[in-house]
């Protein structure tokens, strides 16, 4: 799901099967709702609706509401209407297939330009109807993955009454009673890196932690290296002074919202994160690290 891997940890080993069942069911629902690469998903149906009002499920309405909230809280830096920009960059199928396809000519003949913008999305949450104005096309990838991690962790902890950690491609949510010393998490560029990869180890006891990076989900397009974090102002991959940003927040969704926005905002993200009080670790392209708001000391010898 989401073209990535999932990790599920519980503090009561005997509960792992039940926890897995809960997670599998939730993730299947979310995938069917918002996958951009499944023709039978609600998101694909909505993107193909040509701006006509479309009835959606409660699951989809929730995921879209979360994405719109992220857009509002970041002043549009995290925008769900990046679908067309990503498609134009060749990211129109599962990421493994994009990378396997190798270099490809640009798919758009003209400049991409700014994305339509999140205010073009009309969500009637009560009536569960959505309309996309001005040709907006949705991609809920970033916030939906984090929201999925939050929902899995919350529901597993509530039903099984144990501590739980859910990681979806490095977006980590925890719930329930944590281990005595917290959940140890290795912060790296790539979620698939081994636990001893260059980076920093921290612990969390509640909420979520997410990392965004321009170095992992990359591919070549017309001879240039591109990545998946779109700057809504240009419709192009964000040109950030940060290669990787990790943020801890009250939920994984909020952590992901802030880490993605920080990549898009570039240097200005440092003051923004300080002002919001969000603990964060920001890594420049040369490997130097900045931290904010109580993020633990990062031994330079340990960082990468």
């Amino acid at each position: 799901m989401f073209g990535t891997t999932a990790v599920l940890l519980v503090t009561r080993p005997s509960a792992i099967s039940q926890a897995r069942s809960i997670a599998d069911r939730l993730l299947a629902e979310i995938d069917l709702a918002c996958s951009r690469f499944r023709p039978d998903s609600e998101l694909s149906r909505l993107n193909a609706a040509g701006g006509e009002p479309t009835q959606v499920s409660a699951v989809f309405a929730d995921l879209l509401a979360v994405a719109l909230r992220a857009a509002r809280l970041t002043g549009g830096d995290v925008d769900p209407t990046c679908g067309r920009a990503l498609t134009g960059l060749g990211y129109d199928r599962d990421f493994a297939d994009v990378r396997a396809a190798g270099d490809a000519p640009p798919r758009l003949t003209g400049p991409v330009g700014p994305v339509p913008g999140w205010t073009r999305v009309r969500l009637d949450r009560g009536g569960r109807r959505v309309r996309l104005e001005h040709g907006a096309q949705l991609d809920l990838g970033a916030t939906a993955k984090a929201r999925a991690a939050d929902k899995c962790a919350e529901q597993i902890a509530a039903r099984i009454d144990c501590g739980v950690l859910v990681s979806l491609g490095g977006d980590v949510a925890v719930a329930g009673q944590p281990p005595q010393d917290g959940w140890p998490i290795r912060i790296t560029d790539d979620h698939a890196a081994p636990e001893w990869a260059p980076g920093q180890t921290v612990t969390i006891t509640s909420g979520g932690l997410a990392t965004s990076s321009t170095t992992v989900r990359t591919w070549t397009l017309g001879g240039r290296l591109v990545h998946h974090i779109i700057d809504p102002a240009t419709g192009e991959p964000a040109r950030s002074c940060w290669r990787t940003v990790s943020v801890a927040a009250g939920t994984c969704t909020d952590a992901n919202t802030a880490s993605t926005a920080a990549i898009v905002r570039g240097a200005a993200a440092l003051d923004w994160l300080h002002a919001t009080g969000l603990p964060a670790r920001l890594v420049r392209h040369d490997g130097t690290v900045e931290t904010t708001a109580g993020w633990p000391y990062d031994d330079p010898g340990d960082a990468a």
Binding site: W183, R186, E195, T203, T205, A248, A249, A293, W295
Partner: protein, 82 residues
């Protein structure tokens, strides 16, 4: 000053004031028209970019109950980009 000259001066003054008044009215009318056009233009721009009512909710990004703790060694999971 002869009576004739006084009358002529008064008539000239009245005529001048009438012209100024007419010009003022025209300038005022033009200003109102320009202001109206600007209102319409800005209104259209504003409505195009305005935040729809369903998006005008309160809230903020929630900071964690406590910041991450210092740890040594490896983690049980990795948080990195995917």
């Amino acid at each position: 000053m002869p009576q004739h000259d006084i009358r002529t001066a008064a008539q000239s003054r009245e005529a001048g004031l009438a012209k100024i008044s007419a010009l003022s009215w025209r300038a005022g009318a033009a200003a109102v028209a320009v202001a109206g056009l600007l209102t319409v233009a800005l209104g259209q721009h504003s409505s195009a970019r305005a935040v729809p009512p369903e998006h005008r909710t309160q809230g903020s990004i929630v900071i964690p109950a406590q910041p991450p703790g210092q740890a040594t060694g490896t983690g049980q999971v990795t948080s990195g980009a995917s």
